[in-house]
């Protein structure tokens, strides 16, 4: 083996070792010590798949009450959870801060969408099946459709892969953040106050 081939072998072997290390890290639950709500929590373990039921391992977050939503597509969303040490509900924003510290995508805040809609003076059309006239995308139709109150343009919102809300639509009169992820930093409104 000449020197050049020997170097190639060395580089390839190093790459394989690095790749296997990364794969092993990625396949295991991550365990880190974090702060939430100004308190030192016990070690928090979050599994890799953000959509798993064991989302944020509520037990280890020392919560005493949590609310989930089960959608018809089988996805389960954590709507909110209450911190026993803090004695109050953890907001989505706080939960997402924790998740992002740990390197995971934020959870969608579906419960806040009505408040978002109100703030943008839009109306929500549940279970609408046809696309807006100006939506030529091939994305799956969801049950969330947003209509501007003046009916001059339509937008559709759907969940993207990270769980954010994706706004789409063309010919909009108002400068809404089309294509931008929304719904990540909204606090809980009282839309599901029946659980509180």
């Amino acid at each position: 083996m000449n020197r050049r081939n020997w170097l190639k072998c060395l580089v390839a072997a190093s790459g394989a070792i690095l790749a296997s290390g990364v794969a092993a890290f990625a396949s295991k639950p991550q365990t880190r010590r974090v702060h939430l709500l100004g308190q030192q929590l016990e070690t928090v373990t979050i599994l890799q798949d953000p959509w798993k039921v064991d989302l944020a391992r509520m037990d280890q977050l020392r919560t005493d009450r949590m609310v989930y939503s089960v959608r018809q597509d089988g996805r389960i969303y954590l709507i909110k959870c209450r911190s026993a040490p803090a004695g109050r509900w953890i907001t989505t924003s706080e939960l997402n801060q924790l998740r992002m510290k740990l390197g995971f995508a934020p959870v969608p805040d579906w419960s806040s969408r009505d408040a978002v809609v109100d703030s943008l003076k839009l109306s929500i059309q549940h279970n609408r099946k046809e696309r807006p006239w100006n939506d030529n995308s091939r994305r799956p139709i969801t049950d969330i459709w947003i209509t501007e109150s003046d009916y001059r343009s339509l937008k559709s919102w759907s969940a993207d892969e990270s769980g954010g809300l994706l706004v789409s639509g063309a010919g909009l009169d108002r400068d809404l953040p089309s294509g931008k992820l929304l719904g990540l930093n909204f606090h809980y409104p009282a839309t599901i106050s029946q659980f509180a």
Binding site: V53, D59, S69, V70, F195
Partner: protein, 133 residues
């Protein structure tokens, strides 16, 4: 002539546990009978299966088949029997959604929680579950 519809999964949900399926059925007003191995459909047609789901007062059954991968499929005559279609939901989505909820309840129970409240949101067709401990 029957119009059988077989559903192996709905969205990302597959049925893996007959125990949880039985609980899901009970919440929907159905009964899972694991001792029955023959399901009766429209007229005299029937099928060998691994379990049968029945709806009170309905002459047709819902068959449960074990798949090669260990999961379960359900088959029903939803065209002739509106009661079954209503109980299972469109494409059996109500059954699969309820099954998913039972999976969640099982996990929460294992973590020391119990169901404090259930709420069905008819607008969004979401089932919301509150757990406490």
């Amino acid at each position: 002539m029957s119009h059988l519809v077989k559903q192996t999964s709905q969205g990302g949900v597959t049925i893996k546990s007959l125990d949880l399926l039985g609980k899901a059925c009970a919440k929907l007003g159905l009964t899972l009978d694991t001792s029955r191995k023959v399901a009766h459909y429209y007229g005299s047609s029937k099928a060998a299966c691994d379990a049968v789901i029945t709806l009170p007062g309905c002459k047709s059954d819902i068959a449960v088949f074990k798949q090669e991968d260990g999961s379960y499929a359900v088959e029903a005559d939803t065209s002739y029997f509106a009661d079954i279609a209503k109980a299972l939901g469109e494409n059996s989505d109500s059954l699969f959604q309820r099954y998913r909820a039972e999976e969640l309840i099982e996990q929460a129970t294992n973590d020391g929680f119990s169901v404090a409240q259930e709420f069905w949101n008819p607008q969004t067709e979401e089932l919301q579950l509150a757990f406490e401990r």
